[in-house]
């Protein structure tokens, strides 16, 4: 049982931060699913909205990236 409390806290914190990545995955799936639902109702309008789809995915993903960043910082920088 080597290591100390601070290191344990680091690892637990990094693991908790990884939950945020999973939450971002839900968000990205929500964006893509709603896009598909809309696109199937009006396929002729779908082609023009792919850029919007990717922008939406990118913004939803950004917050997951921040939790990933927190995990990385806890693992390697603190």
């Amino acid at each position: 049982m080597e290591g100390n409390i601070a290191q344990m806290g680091q690892f637990i914190g990094a693991g908790l931060a990884a939950i945020g990545s999973g939450a971002a995955a839900i968000g990205v799936g929500h964006v893509a699913g709603n896009f598909l639902a809309g696109a199937l109702r009006n396929p002729s309008a779908a082609a023009g909205q792919t850029a919007t789809l990717f922008i939406g995915i990118a913004f939803a993903e950004a917050l997951g990236i921040f939790s990933f960043l927190v995990a990385l910082l806890l693992m390697f920088a603190v």
Partner: protein, 251 residues
């Protein structure tokens, strides 16, 4: 990192592929600012590949394009239409820069998929420079084009007056966080994907799970090809969005 490798029983560590080594001389040599490393080599290779595609593709200028010319025209038209659609007609002046960004990231990502190669875009140092360049260029451009009215980007005039200072603060934070998310999105996606490939390759050493692991490596490799293209596209389209914000800051 090192003690994890011993404990995990892997013969290689999944993150070993991202180590920067000097190209000439011994592995232990120190890496300075001007040392030629494997990162330099693969970046140079990406530039050479782009130059080869574009020079060979535009040399013939045939009415019925050859295969190389078709690829070059496809890449050009794809980015041109993206800039026109997202940033608007007056964003087309900055098309060469966005085209450069797109092709460099796309080629770096794809060259990184070659086995035993080095993914330059998996390093935050590379993507942070790209994202900071975009951020600084867009901010300077916004102030040059619009003067002080560029600050209207943060003042949401459609919101109730009482809410506007709070929204301005949120908009300000989200503006300065842009280069962070812009760079880490690309680096994180590339790094995580390649590390997963190596982890599955490590499972292939165990005879019991080797068939599943090899199938997994193939499947994830296919996914990585997709992710490489999508991340290059996302980086470029976000650059276009930021450019549009700089050219037309009103909400």
């Amino acid at each position: 990192m090192a003690e994890e490798a011993k404990g995990g029983g892997l013969e290689f560590h999944p993150m070993d592929q991202f180590i920067i080594k000097p190209l000439f001389g011994d592995v232990g040599d120190s890496v300075g600012m001007f040392t030629v490393t494997n990162a330099t080599f693969w970046m140079a290779l990406a530039i050479l590949a782009i130059a080869a595609l574009m020079i060979l593709g535009t040399r013939g200028r045939a009415v019925v394009p050859t295969r190389t010319q078709s690829v070059a025209e496809l890449a050009y038209g794809f980015v041109y239409k993206m800039v026109e659609d997202v940033a608007g007609k007056d964003g087309l002046k900055y098309f060469p820069y966005i085209m450069t960004l797109f092709l460099f990231i796309l080629f770096s990502n794809f060259l990184g998929l070659i086995p035993m190669s080095f993914t330059t875009t998996s390093h935050i140092a590379v993507t942070a420079i790209l994202a900071m360049a975009v951020f600084l260029a867009v901010t300077i451009l916004g102030f040059v084009k619009n003067g002080a009215s560029f600050l209207g980007l943060f003042w949401v005039s459609s919101a109730p007056l009482a809410l506007r200072p709070i929204l301005a603060l949120i908009e300000l934070i989200s503006y300065f966080v842009r280069p962070v998310s812009h760079s880490i999105r690309l680096a994180g996606n590339m790094m995580a994907g390649h590390a997963v490939l190596k982890v599955f390759a490590g499972f292939a050493q165990v005879a019991a799970v080797a068939p599943i692991a090899i199938f997994g490596v193939v499947a994830i490799y296919g996914l990585e090809v997709l992710v490489s293209a999508i991340q290059a596209y996302v980086f470029t389209i976000l650059t276009c969005v930021y450019l549009k914000d700089a050219l037309h800051p009103s909400h």
